[in-house]
């Protein structure tokens, strides 16, 4: 269980999060939605250990993050940032192999490359194996980066403890087919026992793929439940200032929203 408990944090006098509590359980996909500036990214930074709360705590398996050894923690959770700053022409396999860095010395080179290969295949990027990162398109880069974080917390590791993925807008720059492909990868990760927290802007994607949805508004969690319960016309109007009709998906067991 990766959990934030009544955590508060501010930047330069402005409070970004007020007593937020939220936990990602193994086996679930938790989508975090909210307007720009609501505190979603700050929440992700707390959960990744990038910053510490001023009050409250963030813990993995009930041990506060700052008490975890950095490498051991890195074997338990991976973070996919919104965009990457890689400007050197690193070959694609090397990028994915960086995900295996926290496992250095624990498994053989052959095992690590096999994991890297499996992660590349999982993200549908196997054909990019001979390419150099800087020559890839935005969508291809995103898939390679996703393969890197998947390789970092690949389930088949001899360590039965559940792994976690923290994704900051993983589908923001992808075409529609890619968006769904990425969300299916995320779901498969959860079905194998991993826990996922993803910041998502597209409400319908959250409704379709998340087990639970957390809504953040002005630094507070204002709703945290299954998509069907969270997505009501009232909530969407109040939080996003948007009038929608909420309809059941004709073929799937979920709701979808249309602008009213």
């Amino acid at each position: 269980m990766l959990a934030v408990r009544s955590a508060s944090l501010g930047y330069g006098g402005r409070v970004a999060l007020h007593g937020v509590s939220l936990a990602v359980a193994p086996g679930e996909v938790l989508a975090v939605i909210g307007p720009n500036g609501a505190g979603k990214s700050t929440l992700l930074r707390l959960l990744s250990g990038e910053c510490e709360p001023e009050a409250g705590m963030v813990a993995l398996d009930d041990v506060p993050l700052h008490r975890w050894n950095a490498r051991v923690l890195a074997r338990r959770r991976a973070v996919l940032p919104q965009d990457s700053h890689l400007v050197f022409p690193v070959p694609v396999p090397e990028v994915v192999m960086l995900g295996r860095a926290p496992h250095a010395g624990r498994r053989s080179w052959a095992q690590d490359t096999a994991t890297a290969a499996a992660a590349l295949a999982e993200t549908g990027a196997a054909h990019l194996v001979a390419r150099v990162y800087t020559t890839l398109s935005g969508g291809e880069r995103q898939r390679v980066q996703l393969a890197r974080v998947l390789a970092q917390v690949w389930p088949d590791d001899g360590d039965p403890a559940p792994k976690y993925l923290l994704l900051d807008e993983p589908i923001a720059n992808l075409d529609p087919a890619q968006q769904h492909a990425t969300m299916r990868i995320v779901r498969r990760f959860a079905e194998r026992g991993g826990g996922v927290l993803a910041i998502v802007h597209d409400l319908n994607m959250a409704a379709m793929y998340a087990d639970r949805v957390g809504v953040i508004e002005a630094g507070r969690v204002v709703a945290l439940d299954t998509p069907t319960r969270v997505f009501t016309p009232e909530l969407v109007r109040r939080v996003f200032d948007l009038d929608v009709s909420v309809l059941p998906h004709p073929a799937r067991d979920c709701v979808q929203m249309l602008p009213a």
Binding site: L73, A74, H85, L86, V87, F88, P89, P93, V129, Q152
Partner: protein
């Protein structure tokens, strides 16, 4: 699928092995040429004769004392210094380019070269009498230069440090500012110097391996070799830093400690080199680029290959510097800049947009 990736890795491995063998041959060739060629030619045959005499395999009578002295006490220390300094400068350049994710970084950027130069120039102009009281006179200039280089780097690092974190961009800019200040100090000292001092100064500012001696190398050599060795072990950390600081942290690296370690070791390696040779430009900037063209930016390969290429190139540059205008000697910095400058421009023009470095 797994086979494809493994095959891709295996292919890289074979090519990489070939590159390292070629670099090893280049270093050997540089060492042999550096020992054979010079004002007093020694040549392969005399080289073998002297060595077998040294090892007691053949009678020492076959070797003249002057020949022996030239090889053992003039040529070889120069070659050894060239190898150490070349490797130190090239590896420092490579690690700083990686750390700052900036392909234009070179060892001078963290202030170590100009800091060392300012201290050396001050010693030349004001005389090192005070220092000479505590350390042997021959060591005064290198020790002052080394201390100046490290002091400048520590200052740059302190300036860039805020709330326990060091911002890479601030570190670069602080280096630029401190370099400008140091250059002003050097300028003022040059203005105040006598003609003889000016000759010493210009030689020091443009670099030379002419002061190489085993005595100097026993002090600075191990420091450079140790710093370079530990830097080679930071390859994975530097690879992760190419992704970004946040990503490196999420991969379990202690980013602050890593940055501090890399900057200080680069300063130690460069400081050791600059203390003995003066300021030698372009090696730290160009060598890593040259290696990246062939092996890519992965530090596991880039760092050792840069060490080998830097070592070989500096020995060859020194060979050119001391033979091209016989009986005089050219400052080595002129040679490296003459070759490195145009090469770097060529590199800039051939670089296609969007393909990165």
């Amino acid at each position: 699928m797994s086979e494809t990736v493994s095959a891709a890795f295996a292919l890289h491995r074979r090519r990489n092995a070939a590159v390292f063998i070629a670099l090893g041959l280049l270093v050997s060739a540089a060492v042999l040429l550096g020992s054979w060629v010079g004002a007093a030619g020694i040549g392969p045959e005399r080289f073998l004769v002297i060595f077998s005499a040294e090892l007691g395999l053949t009678p020492a009578a076959a070797v003249s004392e002057s020949e022996r002295a030239v090889l053992l006490f003039i040529r070889l220390p120069r070659v050894a210094l060239g190898l150490c300094a070349g490797a130190a400068l090239a590896v420092s350049g490579a690690v700083l380019q990686g750390l700052f994710r900036n392909p234009l970084a070179d060892p001078g950027l963290i202030g170590v070269s100009t800091g060392a130069a300012l201290a050396a120039v001050a010693v030349i102009v004001f005389g090192g009498a005070g220092l000479a009281a505590v350390i042997p006179p021959a060591y005064v200039l290198p020790v002052a230069a080394f201390a100046g280089g490290i002091a400048a780097t520590v200052m740059v690092y302190r300036i860039a440090r805020r709330d326990g974190a060091t911002d890479a961009a601030t570190l670069l800019l602080a280096g630029v500012a401190l370099n400008a200040l140091t250059a002003a100090g050097i300028g003022a000292l040059v203005f105040a110097s006598t003609d003889q001092q000016l000759r010493d100064l210009s030689f020091w500012m443009l670099g030379s391996l002419g002061n190489a001696s085993w005595r100097m190398l026993t002090v600075a050599g191990p420091a450079m070799i140790a710093a370079v060795s530990v830097l080679l072990l930071s390859a994975r950390f530097l690879d992760a830093m190419l992704l970004g600081e946040g990503e490196a942290r999420h991969l379990g690296f202690d980013v602050e400690a890593g940055k501090r370690r890399v900057v200080l070791l680069a300063a130690l390696a460069t400081g050791g080199a600059v203390a003995l040779t003066g300021v030698i430009g372009f090696v730290g900037l160009v060598v890593p680029h040259l290696v990246r063209l062939v092996l890519g930016p992965t530090h596991r390969l880039l760092l050792p290959a840069s060490a080998l290429l830097g070592a070989a190139l500096l020995v060859i540059a020194d060979l050119i510097a001391r033979t091209v205008v016989l009986p005089a000697e050219l400052p080595i910095g002129i040679v490296t800049s003459c070759v490195g400058g145009p090469f770097f421009l060529w590199l800039l023009t051939r670089r296609r947009a969007g393909t990165g470095w």
